[in-house]
């Protein structure tokens, strides 16, 4: 029945007109029911009124119909049969009708104590019966209840709305909003209207706003009504939740394209409308709640304080003296916000209206003005309240006029479950998170981030970057790269330095980089951290990227930032900054890309692709591209051979030896042992382990007897047999020792020293050994390391005169550093013992 009425009306009318016509039609039905009831039962003198939404003649298809029977106390008993006779036929039609009956005194008494009764009555409308009763009630209501204690009324409205609102604060309701009760919903509009009614004694809310503003608000209301009408009709009940399913159905009905695009467009308009309404609501509520008492007004009168020729502080709020000052000099708009920050004061209602009126005067000249831009950046730099001001600028429509790029993402939503807020709100919330961090709000939970935001050099650039980080959204292509390009133009216009622009471009183009590295890379792999450090470049950038990542995730929604994500990001930050702090700066490694490009000239593409990702930076920086390509060729033939050994003679007694084999536990000590066995003295060595488990070691060896070629051949043979398990190194060495050694001539003693350093690397224990050189000392040392369970990943061996200086990067069998005090001491002792020959 209702549906039929409604459907008949729908195509021909605006949403407001539809509600009114629907209500008119309902009036006809209700009057008829009232009159026939009066004919059936003895009728006392009563007045029939419509209250609530129906009273306002704004009746959505399945809204409740609230009626009130107003009677004189003398005939109370005769009322119930009458009410029943009115209700039954309406219920039979399937209408949700409720009817209360009260006397005028009861109405007034209840209106004073119950805010819902009061608001229901404000919207009351005469339908039938004794008009005199209606007139009396409204005369008294207006005089005795409505315009008294506006502040208390606003307080009661706020308290009434609060518990309902809490439910809709859940992020799920941002995605699937409730059109009536949600933030910026129809109820908000209504509350604003009641307050205006009480405060300004008029029902024409549009009269107290500037024409542009009221037109925008009206458009927003109409849009929400249109959605609500469709919601009711489609679900055939009082359905106010705009669910995903219904979003898809309604978007085409309202003229949006089919599919996801249409839904996103509709939801964008919804969010813009809701914001408009929400601002209207909060403005009016705040003004009513914080209206100073007469006494305070007098005090404030004496506290009026002139700030400059255009502004003064009045009633504790910022006030614009000359209403056309903004039009004469638009830059005063920015001055207003600066004062707002300096005095930590709100702007009064009229001044805000004046800001909105002056928006069309924000033009290219304004946007390029150095004075304006400097003022804006100084607002971002100041300690207090930058985020709140940005929010206000955005509410007033100022921000998207000043930064037009920002207006493209206004209300822009992602049709998914993760992104709760539209892009513009997300960006401002991100700035707010930074503001909170700076104010110490997160001191206890995130002490590291709190100290970082206080030490960065350019907070204004960080805030601006955070505001702009997603402006590339909604365009074809990678939003980070597009956004970076757009931000660069904004920076250009604002007169940022080259450095600042570059910083902003870097941060925006890589704003997902840290998050991806933290969640998708092995943070216990030095290589991963090194690459991250390399791409980040400087400690300053690292800090800002970390802060931006925090703000970005935190602003996605209340559940997006977890202690889990916090741990991973913090670990990545700390490990990367250790790199920077130690001065082991990634710049000292030559650009990986360059080396790989050179390698490309000597190796086929497939081969290079196969190996490139496994080559550690430390390795790449040690060897020339020619050497590396030789190593790769060796590695390629490893399948057939267990071991590859190549050497080149440098002098009569010296040679450079390259060994390539599969890495295994204790490999280094076996190589050193085999060299010792063949009387090859190791002068220098570099050992590297590739990511794919291939060991690539180079040795600089000497044989004073001039038989180096023969010895190397024998060494190769021995090592091969040892590695394939045919013969034991220990056995060979013991046989050898029996044969005794040639005593060396006496030279100055070098004291032995072993240092175990766990401070300089997050990944390896670094062991530094100095001692007297002798044949076989490297074997003794590496054997000691192997005996203690150390896996050697990287080593640099050098000989200075008769002194050996060896550095080993080791891990235990689990791939962890060696940190237990006992183990460290034991290791040191063992190393010292082996350094001194028995």
């Amino acid at each position: 029945m209702r549906n039929r009425i409604a459907r008949g009306l729908l195509p021909h009318s605006s949403p407001r007109e539809f509600l009114r016509q629907h209500s008119d039609m309902m009036d006809g039905l209700v009057r008829k029911a009232f009159q026939s009831a009066r004919a059936k039962v003895p009728s006392p003198s009563v007045c029939l009124m419509a209250i609530g939404g129906y009273g306002r003649a704004e009746l959505a298809p399945y809204s409740d119909i609230d009626l009130l029977l107003l009677y004189s106390p003398s005939n109370k008993n005769e009322l119930s049969p009458l009410a029943e006779q009115i209700l039954y036929p309406l219920w039979d039609l399937g209408l949700d009708v409720s009817c209360s009956s009260r006397s005028i005194d009861e109405c007034l008494k209840m209106a004073r104590s119950d805010v819902q009764v009061k608001t229901g009555l404000i919207d009351g409308r005469y339908l039938d019966g004794e008009y005199e009763f209606f007139r009396n009630l409204y005369g008294l209501l207006t005089k005795k209840v409505l315009h008294r204690r506006v502040q208390k009324f606003a307080g009661a409205l706020a308290r009434d709305i609060h518990p309902r609102r809490q439910k809709y604060e859940d992020p799920a309701y941002v995605l699937e909003p409730n059109i009536k009760e949600g933030e910026g919903g129809l109820r908000d509009f209504q509350v604003g209207r009641w307050i205006i009614r009480a405060k300004y004694k008029t029902d024409r809310w549009d009269f107290i706003l500037f024409p542009d503003h009221s037109r925008m608000l009206d458009k927003s209301i109409q849009f929400l009504w249109a959605i609500r009408n469709h919601l009711h009709l489609l679900s055939e009940r009082r359905q106010d939740d705009l669910t995903f399913e219904l979003q898809e159905k309604i978007a085409p009905l309202l003229g949006f394209p089919n599919g996801t695009k249409g839904v996103e467009e509709m939801m964008r308009q919804y969010h813009l409308s809701a914001r408009e309404i929400s601002n209207f609501f909060h403005d009016n509520l705040d003004r009513a709640l914080f209206e100073p008492s007469t006494f305070r007004k007098i005090i404030f009168f004496f506290q009026r304080k002139r700030i400059d020729e255009n502004f003064e502080m009045a009633h504790g709020e910022l006030h614009l003296l000359d209403p056309v000052a903004f039009k004469k000099d638009p830059s005063q708009l920015m001055t207003l916000f600066q004062h707002g920050q300096a005095y930590q004061a709100k702007t009064d209602f009229r001044t805000e209206e004046a800001v909105m009126e002056a928006l069309p005067f924000i033009d290219d000249r304004f946007r390029a003005s150095q004075k304006v831009n400097q003022a804006f950046l100084s607002i971002l730099r100041r300690e207090k309240g930058a985020d709140a001001l940005l929010m206000k600028m955005h509410q007033l429509g100022f921000l998207s006029r000043y930064i037009p790029e920002f207006s493209d993402v206004e209300g822009k939503v992602h049709y998914d479950l993760y992104h709760v807020h539209p892009v513009d709100i997300h960006s401002i919330l991100a700035v707010q998170e930074l503001g909170r961090l700076r104010d110490g709000y997160y001191q206890k939970d995130y002490p590291l981030l709190t100290s970082l935001i206080r030490e960065i050099e350019k907070p204004d650039i960080l805030f601006l970057t955070t505001l702009l980080h997603d402006i590339g959204k909604g365009r074809e292509g990678d939003h980070a790269l597009i956004g970076a390009e757009m931000a660069k133009q904004v920076g250009e216009r604002m007169g940022l330095t080259v450095e600042e622009k570059e910083l902003m471009e870097f941060l925006i183009s890589r704003h997902l980089f840290m998050l991806e590295t933290a969640f998708r890379r092995d943070l216990h792999d030095e290589q991963a951290i090194l690459r991250f450090a390399n791409e980040t470049g400087t400690p300053g950038r690292l800090k800002m990227l970390y802060l931006l990542t925090f703000a970005d995730i935190k602003a996605v929604g209340p559940e997006a930032w977890t202690s889990w994500k916090n741990s991973l990001l913090m670990e990545l930050f700390l490990k990367t900054s250790h790199f920077f702090e130690k001065g082991e700066e990634p710049q000292t490694f030559p650009r990986r890309g360059e080396t790989l490009a050179q390698l490309h000239q000597s190796l086929p593409q497939d081969t290079l692709n196969h190996y490139a990702e496994h080559l550690p930076d430390r390795y790449l920086s040690t060897y020339s591209p020619e050497e590396i390509s030789l190593h790769i060729k060796m590695a390629q033939s490893l399948g057939k051979e267990v071991l590859l050994v190549g050497w080149s003679r440098e002098e009569e007694v010296r040679a450079r030896v390259t060994i390539c084999t599969k890495d295994r536990y204790g490999l280094f000590s076996k190589i050193a042992g085999s060299m010792f066995l063949n009387r090859l003295n190791i002068l220098e060595a570099q050992i590297h382990t590739w990511g794919n488990g291939i060991a690539l070691d180079t040795f600089h060896v000497e044989d004073p007897t001039g038989e180096i070629e023969r010895r190397l051949q024998q060494f190769k043979k021995d090592l091969k047999e040892i590695l394939s398990g045919k013969i034991s190194l220990k056995l060979l060495l013991s046989q050898r020792e029996e044969s005794g050694w040639i005593q060396k001539k006496v030279i100055p003693k070098v004291p032995g020293e072993a240092k175990v350093n766990n401070r300089d690397s997050d990944f390896y224990t670094i062991i530094e050994i100095t001692g007297e050189d002798r044949l076989g000392v490297l074997y003794e040392i590496t054997q000691a390391l192997t005996d203690c369970g150390c896996d050697i990943h990287f080593a640099r061996i050098s000989t200075l005169g008769n002194r050996v200086v060896d550095v080993f990067y080791v891990q235990d069998e689990w791939g962890e550093k060696i940190v237990e005090r006992e183990k460290v001491n034991h290791l040191k002792q063992l190393l010292l013992n082996r350094l001194t020959p028995l």
């Binding site: 590291l448 998708r520 092995d522 216990h524 994500k565 741990s567 991973l568 670990e571 689990w814 962890e816």
Partner: protein, 112 residues
Amino acid sequence: MKKIEAIVKPFKLDEVKNALTKIGVQGMTVTEVKGFGRQKGHTEVYRGAEYAIDFIPKIKIDLIVSDELVPQVIETIERAARTGKIGDGKIFLSPVEEVIRIRTGERGKDAV
């Protein structure tokens, strides 16, 4: 039917998920978890202040599979999640009494 619960390193999630999808596993539940086993947490120092990482972030993957698939699924997870270092995680296997698909009321194998 069996429930397989695997704790793996966060960065291994994509690899494990892709490997499981390849062998035909249809669904799984993924949770961000924190804890420690033999791989203990540690303290990091930054500018003299200490920041404790007590519980190590891991990913937990839950899946329900029919008995005959169990060996293959376990092997797949093992292979994909292994780095050979400490903290690679664990796999737990336990029996499941019943599975019910809420929408249709289907039970047993059909509901998996």
